[in-house]
Amino acid sequence: MRVERAAVLEVVRNQAVSLLDLAPEELAEDVSFVDDLGVDSLALIEFAMAVEDALGISLPEDEIAGTRHLGTFVDLVAAKVADRPSS
């Protein structure tokens, strides 16, 4: 079954709230992890791994490093979800 981008966004936001200690209202798609939210590299990796575990995908670190904003991160995750064999 194909997972909609909105569903991916929901998962990503939930993980960001629980792991990065952020409020849901802070998580607009155009916010920058580093510049706006003060997320450092370790926190970003932990967050990305939690999203990987939640959705059964793999996010290469160089691709994670290329996503500065929440929206582009969601795009990356949605693309990986779409590529899952079961999708």
């Binding site: 450092d40 370790l42 990796i45 932990e46 791994m49 939690a50 670190e61 160089d62 994670i64």
Partner: protein
């Protein structure tokens, strides 16, 4: 060939799947080793615990913050509680550069900051070896991961200085542990691109410099480079370097063996 069959290896420094220590763990497991990971409690421990099953390492991840004496004091017992009565190998892959570290003020760095870098990067080699000393046996090997320190690369920083101190620490430790048949060596790898390394000042220019110099080539973003460093570490953990201690084995495609092009 199983270089590490039956050998029990404690590995520090696994944070992400791209950590150099993770490359060592993968290869050590493939060569027959049993592996225990250590990580400081808090966020790093959560990361290591997430990575451990991906690498095929069983729980528990032992709690070890090398700046906490109580963690060092408890390490040997924690290894025993995990069911090991000896440790055949120790991998030291620790380094620390505080976030926001300003590389442009090398001489102005306060001791409070420089000492933290030294403590985690260099002193901890001796501290971890001492903590595990009751479990080390004849033939055990301590292997640290380091970088070239024969000259300053890019802007000076206290991490480079501490890596030079790490080599000196390894030699001193080799002298102390040698009579018991325990070896201590380092692998000085070329730069490898990880998410954490990207944050280091001057990393990109370092990557380009190594690629330009290395007669064998050095691709910092290739898994082959991490594997090359891991292979050297696994060889030093094995019984195939029985008469080598206090040494630094360089794995960088030859980049530091030659001058600028």
């Amino acid at each position: 060939m199983s270089l590490l069959a039956g050998r029990r290896v404690v590995v520090t420094g696994v944070l992400t799947e791209s950590s150099l220590a993770s490359a060592v763990v993968r290869l050590a497991l493939a060569e027959g080793a049993e592996v225990l990971l250590t990580s400081p409690v808090c966020r790093a421990h959560r990361l290591t615990s997430r990575v451990a099953p991906r690498l095929g390492v069983a729980e528990p991840v032992l709690e070890l913050d090398v700046t906490l004496q109580q963690d060092l004091d408890a390490l040997a017992d924690a290894v025993r509680e995990a069911g090991w009565d000896r440790v055949d190998g120790v991998v030291h892959a620790l380094g620390y550069l505080p976030e926001g570290f300003d590389a442009t003020t090398f001489a102005g760095t306060p001791w409070s900051l420089a000492s933290q870098v030294f403590e985690v990067t260099a002193w901890s080699l001796a501290a971890v070896a001492h903590a595990l000393d009751p479990l080390l046996v004849k033939g055990s090997a301590v292997v640290g991961l380091t970088q070239n320190t024969s000259q300053v690369w890019g802007d000076p920083d206290w991490l480079q200085v501490s890596h030079a101190a790490l080599a000196a620490t390894a030699r001193s430790l080799a002298r102390e542990l040698g009579p018991r048949g325990v070896r201590v060596n380092l692998v000085a790898g070329g730069p490898v691109v990880t998410l954490l390394a990207r944050a280091l000042p001057g990393h990109t220019s370092l990557v380009e410099e190594y690629a330009a110099r290395a007669p064998l080539g050095w691709d910092a973003s290739s898994a082959t480079s991490s594997e090359a460093i891991a292979k050297a570490a696994v060889m030093l953990l094995s019984s195939w370097f029985p008469a080598t201690t206090g040494e630094v084995v360089t794995v960088d495609g030859g980049a530091t063996a030659v001058g600028a092009r």
